[in-house]
């Protein structure tokens, strides 16, 4: 009876909201409060800090290129409403949308767009991808107020993605005159953008409040009068705040799902938001040791039961995967690679062939970045390995303690592996991860170096995909690394928050689109 009543009331409410809440021409109203695990450093300059700030910056700013929900460039939503590329693919011409105004009323023009790219190429860029901008961009010119020309040193297949919201904050356009006049330091705390919301207040380590910049916006009309991002680092506190109604939307972990659902909140997923990828360290180097034997690497990968990890540790909030590198599971559609089979017997046989029937010992560097369950998965992997006679030691540490090991400033103490939870993304630098001698590279293999040079020389996205496909096959055949699983980014929604299209960008949840989706 009671349940029926509730159901009826909910239906009624739904009907009422459908009639009252017509997204098309509603004034912005009410408040949306979002609980985040970190607010990063609460500075709003696009390139002085991490691109992960997109969660609260994407409503404030517009991008040269905006991607659609599938992660593809969408001119109708981009500041560059049209673009052309020269025959030799070295000159890109972007036509900037007219009539777009910054929050202080000044017009957004091509020189502001050029300013964004100059910042991304500058040595002060802390948002990432500086090396790519430096390698590819020769210079940027403007022609009149609404045309920007980018001249490249060599063809850059992914230029559109690098100017978009897909990979970070580098594609954000912000007012050059304003920054010139007030200085970078001022802009970091008092930003002006052209997005549907503007910054109202930012209290360090507490909250960020945005307010609707107007009733209408060319990209998306603001739904809410204010959006507040609250810092709630502790997961218990975060859930409590949701339950008390202090926030309407929070990031949650796999282990919170059942409790949140029991309390009547909806779970909302950014499907496959994370790629869990297992790499061996220093393959091909002297310190690689037994890992330099392909059979050993293959054995270690075959010993892992990926299905069990997804079902028992991620509790079904994800899927198994065959490839490594996030781009293969994300926006760009590659033909899928099969998931490596779980075959411990085969693994033992391979070890025996390699003369290691009695096993050996290996370290697993274990740290948590984005997925708290990483720790458990590392322990599970250690268990699988010991099942085939390999003694695996899990070294718990903070991520920042692992980074020096990864970039080869600290030596490994023997054969080593690590599991990293990557935010899934359109592009990932082959050179960064696999080119011999690069700081973050895990492999030293001249063959692969050659292949990476080839993929970088590709002139089109199609070409790039084809060569990438071949490279990935090589990486997997050589068992240099393996993807373990894809995990979903999980959110819990308060009762009034409608589901929305969360997109496929790193760390941007497209929060400005809540309540206004098609």
């Amino acid at each position: 009876m009671n349940k029926l009543n509730k159901l009826f009331a909910a239906l009624l409410l739904l009907l009422v909201t459908m009639f009252v809440h017509t997204p098309a021409d509603a004034e912005p109203a009410g408040e949306l409060r979002v609980g985040l695990t970190t607010l990063y450093n609460q500075t709003f300059h696009p390139t002085t800090a991490s691109g992960y700030r997109l969660s609260y910056m994407s409503p404030i700013f517009d991008f040269i290129i905006t991607t659609d929900k599938n992660g593809e460039p969408d001119p109708s939503n981009s500041l560059a409403h049209k673009w052309e590329v020269s025959e030799d693919r070295l000159k890109w011409t972007f036509h900037i949308r007219e009539g777009v105004k910054f929050h202080d009323g000044t017009s957004l023009t091509a020189k502001d767009a050029k300013f964004a790219i100059d910042n991304a190429s500058s040595k002060n860029n802390r948002a990432g991808r500086k090396s790519d901008f430096n390698a590819f961009v020769k210079n940027v010119e403007t022609e009149g107020d609404y045309t920007m020309i980018i001249n490249l040193n060599k063809p850059w297949q992914f230029i559109l993605y690098f100017l978009s919201d897909a990979i970070g904050t580098q594609g954000i356009v912000f007012p050059k005159d304003y920054v010139d006049k007030h200085g970078i330091d001022h802009f970091m705390k008092n930003p002006i953008g052209s997005g549907p919301y503007r910054l109202k207040e930012s209290v360090a380590r507490d909250h960020i409040t945005l307010e609707a910049a107007g009733a209408k916006h060319w990209r998306v009309d603001p739904t809410y009068q204010t959006i507040t991002f609250k810092l709630l680092p502790e997961s218990g506190t975060r859930l409590a705040a949701l339950k008390t109604g202090e926030v309407d939307l929070v990031q949650i972990g796999v282990s919170d799902v059942s409790s949140v659902e029991k309390d009547g909140f909806r779970i909302f997923k950014k499907k496959n938001g994370l790629l869990l990828d297992l790499s061996f360290l220093r393959v091909g180097d002297k310190t690689g040791g037994v890992l330099n034997d392909k059979r050993v690497r293959e054995a270690l990968i075959k010993a892992i039961d990926k299905n069990a990890i997804v079902n028992q540790i991620l509790m079904g909030n994800g899927s198994t995967i065959g490839t490594t590198l996030p781009q293969f599971s994300w926006a760009v559609d590659y033909s899928p690679f099969p998931v490596t089979e779980y075959n411990p017997d085969e693994a033992k046989k391979l070890l025996a062939e390699a003369g290691l029937a009695n096993g050996f010992s290996i370290n697993i560097y274990s740290f948590v970045t984005r997925l708290p369950e990483t720790k458990l998965i590392n322990e599970a992997i250690a268990g699988y390995w010991s099942a085939i006679g390999v003694e695996a030691k899990v070294l718990e540490m903070a991520y920042n303690a692992f980074r020096p090991v990864w970039v080869k400033k600290k030596e490994v103490t023997g054969p080593s592996a690590f599991l990293m939870a990557w935010p899934n993304r359109t592009i990932y630098s082959w050179r960064g991860k696999y080119f011999s001698g690069n700081p973050f590279s895990t492999v030293n293999d001249p063959e692969l170096d050659k292949m990476i040079n080839e993929v970088e020389a590709s002139s089109s996205v199609a070409d790039y995909k084809k060569i990438s496909q071949r490279n990935m096959k090589y990486v997997l055949d050589q068992s240099f690394a393996t993807g373990v699983a894809l995990a979903d980014d999980l959110f819990a929604l308060g009762k009034d928050v409608p589901a929305w299209n969360i997109g496929r960008n790193i760390q941007s949840f497209r929060i400005e689109f809540i309540g206004s989706d098609e």
Binding site: D132, M188, T237, A241, R403, P439, F440
Partner: protein, 306 residues
């Protein structure tokens, strides 16, 4: 007294110098901000450039002298993470921590005094056992957990208090109660044992012999003496208070010094860590000096020792 203060201040400087050397070298041994800030497509050359930019390429002694000579004039540099002057970040966070710490302290004392005094007076009674269980709980149950339980009860179940943040005075209640519970236990225990000692002393007997009422014996003669011995541990309690604050700030998303330090460590933000540790150190040392001066002032045996 003057001599005492001068000696203490000199000691403070020596401690600060040692602290600065320690923190400076510890963070450099344990981490590498260039490795952390480097983006994943970077080359070895990018890494080297970044080190130059962060001033990490210079010999460590030179780095230290640069740092300490600037710190001496109050310049802790810019945070490597967000380029905000460290002093400004600290200036924003410190008052929040101070407010939380002070309310908790007042709350802790106002709980601990009745608890400790009555349990000493009624030693061995049911009340004493009850009070000791409460005090024991406050110290053995993790503060983190206490915070979450309080949130569950007062914010989630009864909906009478906010769970996190610091907008209104109602926001102070749960975090300061959590911290106060932690502090209270120590105070109550110390107060109980020193009350027991004082109540057994000859001057309490004399007061009773004079016909002074029992309540006056306890609350005037005995408590004053016991509070002095609590105050003599002031410095230690300030350090405990600071530690407690860091935990409570995490649970209740309180934007204070503790969270700032935590972020500094996560981001390997050397200037920020150095600033927070040194300024935190100065504050702990200054306030413990102040309690010592207060103690000396309140205790005639020290104040009038010629």
């Amino acid at each position: 007294m003057k001599r005492f203060i001068v000696v203490r201040i000199v000691q403070m400087f020596v401690t600060l110098i040692l602290l600065s050397v320690l923190i400076f070298s510890l963070i450099r041994i344990s981490g590498d901000p260039a490795a952390l800030l480097l983006d994943e497509s970077a080359t070895e050359k990018d890494y080297q450039l970044l080190r130059v930019e962060l001033g990490l390429d210079e010999p460590i002694i030179a780095q230290y002298f640069k740092f300490i000579s600037r710190a001496a004039v109050g310049d802790f540099g810019l945070s490597t993470n967000d380029r905000v002057p460290v002093l400004i970040s600290i200036g924003g966070a410190l008052p929040n921590t101070a407010r939380l710490a002070l309310t908790s302290l007042v709350l802790a004392l106002s709980m601990a005094v009745p608890l400790g005094v009555i349990s000493a007076v009624k030693k061995g009674s049911v009340y004493d056992h009850f009070a000791r269980v409460i005090a024991g709980l406050g110290q053995s149950v993790p503060t983190f957990w206490v915070g979450l339980v309080l949130i569950q009860i007062f914010a989630v179940n009864f909906r009478i208090l906010p769970s996190s943040g610091m907008e209104t005075s109602a926001h102070y209640i749960l975090p300061s109660a959590t911290l106060a519970l932690f502090m209270m236990s120590g105070f109550a225990r110390l107060l109980r044992s020193s009350m027991l000692e004082v109540l057994d002393s000859e001057f309490i007997k004399l007061a009773r012999i004079k016909g002074v009422s029992e309540s006056s014996v306890v609350w005037k003669h005995a408590l004053r003496n016991s509070l002095m011995s609590v105050l003599s541990f002031g410095g230690m309690y300030i350090a405990i208070l600071m530690t407690g604050t860091i935990l409570v700030e995490t649970v209740f998303a309180w934007p204070g010094l503790g969270r700032l330090a935590y972020e500094g460590i996560i981001n390997q933000d050397f200037p920020l860590i150095q600033g927070v540790v040194l300024i935190g150190g100065v504050i702990v040392m200054l306030s413990s000096l102040l309690t010592d001066i207060l103690y000396a002032y309140l205790d005639p045996r020290i104040r009038f020792s010629g």
